[in-house]
């Protein structure tokens, strides 16, 4: 649901990130409110993953601030409230690990130190495996699965923590259509329960009907923030708003003149 009045779950102001001295994100403001389903889109290298990583605390900010559930990221302790699906299946380690073990590690934010997993933990893990259709592969080694199946393991790992706020970085890349549909169902259920979703995707596919807000990144800045765009708007011609575009490396971006505050414009 588009939730113009809801409580802000993510409040990012002036988020600027430089990697190796090179600015990758430049002065981005983004507010995501409770229950929203936001699609973060844009070309390769436009900074989508970096923005998600900045919002989850994996990338230090050069400038600006991020609040999650009203708490500055630095002091944010309720980690079980957020779930994260990283881009690309992580390289498996040197030791075999079963699907169930990897999915179980998504439950750690809710488990106390030195306590065995309880009944609720096991139920959540079973549920997560069920949702991604890997119940009968639970005992298999992750490294023996196909790339799409490994991606589904990572999705299940995030689901196992039963978070309220989801960051998914291209969760459906390499996942076949039936399983994209299954994931769409799972996200619809979560969304229906009031979870907030921030999803990076190039192709929304079956997730499209769920999206109620699109944020488009271009060259490290949020270039569009509003109602979902058609595929044509994002990829069809180079930039949805302005026609003046040269293919010279940017000194001043064409959006400088019209960079808008998403809190005022856009919606």
């Amino acid at each position: 649901m588009l939730n113009a009045a809801g409580t802000p779950v993510v409040e990012a102001r002036d988020v600027t990130v430089a990697i190796g001295g090179r600015p990758v994100l430049r002065g981005n403001d983004l507010i995501v409110r409770e229950g929203e389903f936001v699609a973060l889109m844009g070309a390769n290298g436009s900074g989508k993953s970096t923005l998600v990583r900045a919002l989850t605390g994996l990338r230090p900010l050069t400038q600006g601030s991020v609040l999650l559930f009203g708490t500055p990221l630095h002091d944010f302790g309720d980690r079980h409230r957020i779930g994260f699906v990283p881009q690309r299946g992580t390289a498996t380690g040197g030791v075999p690990a079963s699907v169930r073990e990897v999915v179980s590690s998504g439950r750690l934010s809710r488990r106390r130190l030195l306590r065995p997993a309880g009944r609720a933990d096991r139920a959540a893990i079973d549920d997560a495996l069920e949702v991604v259709g890997l119940t009968d592969k639970a005992g298999d080694g992750v490294s023996t699965l196909s790339g799409g199946q490994q991606q589904r393991v990572l999705i299940a790992r995030a689901l196992a923590g039963e978070p309220e706020l989801f960051f998914l970085d291209e969760p459906t890349a390499g996942v076949d259509l039936p399983n994209q549909l299954a994931l769409a169902d799972a996200l619809r259920t979560l969304s229906g329960r009031g979870a907030t979703v921030v999803l990076v995707a190039h192709e929304l596919g079956p997730l499209e009907p769920l999206v109620d807000r699109a944020v488009v990144m271009r060259d490290g800045r949020i270039a569009y923030d509003g109602t979902p765009l058609s595929h044509e708007d994002v990829h069809g011609h180079h930039h949805p708003v302005d026609a003046r575009h040269d293919h010279v490396p940017h000194v001043g971006s064409p959006f400088d003149t019209m960079s808008h505050d998403p809190r005022e414009g856009g919606r």
Partner: protein, 344 residues
């Protein structure tokens, strides 16, 4: 040496102490080693072992117990290695190598300064059964128990951090703390193993049992527990073996422990290859709803290629395929259909 003599030897006090130390070492070293292998830091134990040589030498020089100086120096070295690794971008392994060689060279030099010969260092480099005093056994036991309690107790956290540190950080785990903990526990295990396997071979006891158990295991936990069992068998067996041989020649326990562990690896390797192959073969075939070829395609080959009826005991892998079973032979998939087989 006869069996009776061996039994007599095993009954001696110093041998009992050595056996206890070997058992604990065999359990603790592979437990922490599993995390090193998972993080692809299999040689970290080796690096710490080299650094610990300096620690032993400092003990010899100052007249304090080399076990304790080795623990301290090994922990410092491990923390330093971990910090270099964390900061290190491209030249991390070169920095580690510098530390390895510095540790070994420093150790030999300081031992010389202490007026001790290579022999006193030898005991620590390759292990020695007889040199373990009863107080040292208690140190060893205490340290091994600490290592085992922490690795097994924090297994879920350590596994999460070792397999995906970024995800672990989002989950709120203190990744740096856990990484340092693994480094420190590795350092402690190195010193625990010092008296039995010796510093130069200690890494083998951390890595080889893990390499062996991962041939057969499919989960992290099984790999770890099986590696502990294998490590304990290798350590105790190798020690007894070296005691047996010591009648004929001087055999340090370290090499025989390591060789036994390697023999166990060599023995399981073909089994692992076979298991993996069988698992792949037994993977159910996907059920294709639309695109599947004509379901009634009779297997067309002559009876001499196919002299029997496929069944439970025919020796051909039987693989689930939706509601029936396909038999696999020579690249065919045959499903029984009345009098003949369909090619699937």
């Amino acid at each position: 040496m006869s069996l009776a003599e061996l039994a007599d030897l095993l009954d001696r006090d110093f041998m009992q102490r050595a056996l206890l130390a070997a058992l604990l070492t065999g359990l603790a070293a592979p437990a922490i080693g599993t995390f090193l292998v998972q993080r692809r830091l299999a040689l970290l134990g080796d690096g710490i072992g080299h650094v610990a040589v300096t620690g032993v030498a400092l003990g010899l020089l100052t007249g304090t117990s080399p076990t304790w100086t080795a623990v301290v120096v090994a922990i410092l070295g491990a923390v330093l290695i971990e910090v270099i690794r964390e900061q290190g971008h491209t030249n991390g392994d070169v920095a580690l190598a510098l530390l390895f060689y510095g540790g070994l060279a420093g150790g030999v030099l300081i031992t010389g300064l202490a007026g001790e010969g290579a022999n006193s260092l030898q005991v620590y480099l390759f292990g020695s059964v007889t040199s373990i005093s009863s107080t040292e056994v208690w140190y060893t036991a205490g340290l091994a128990v600490v290592v085992l309690t922490l690795t097994l107790g924090l297994l879920p956290q350590l596994f999460a951090v070792a397999s995906d540190p970024e995800f672990a950080r989002v989950m709120g785990l203190q990744v740096r703390f856990y990484n340092l903990l693994v480094a420190v526990l590795a350092a402690v295990s190195v010193t625990v193993a010092m008296r039995t396997v010796g510093l130069l071979l200690v890494s083998a006891l951390m890595v080889v049992p893990v390499a062996t158990s991962q041939q057969l295991a499919r989960s992290f936990r099984t790999t770890l527990l099986a590696a502990m069992v294998i490590g304990a068998i290798a350590a105790v067996g190798g020690l007894v073996g070296s005691a047996w041989l010591s009648a004929q020649a001087t055999v340090a326990p370290g090499p025989s422990i390591v060789l036994l562990a390697l023999a166990m690896f060599a023995a399981t390797w073909p089994v692992g290859v076979w298991l993996r192959r069988r698992r792949r073969l037994a993977e159910p075939f996907p059920i294709l709803a639309v695109d599947s070829p004509d379901p009634h395609q009779v297997a067309g080959h002559t009876d001499d290629e196919h002299p029997h009826e496929h069944g439970d005991d025919c020796g051909h892998p039987a693989v689930r395929h939706g509601d029936h079973v396909d038999y696999v032979h020579d690249g065919h998939r045959h499903a029984p259909h009345g009098e003949h087989y369909d090619e699937h």
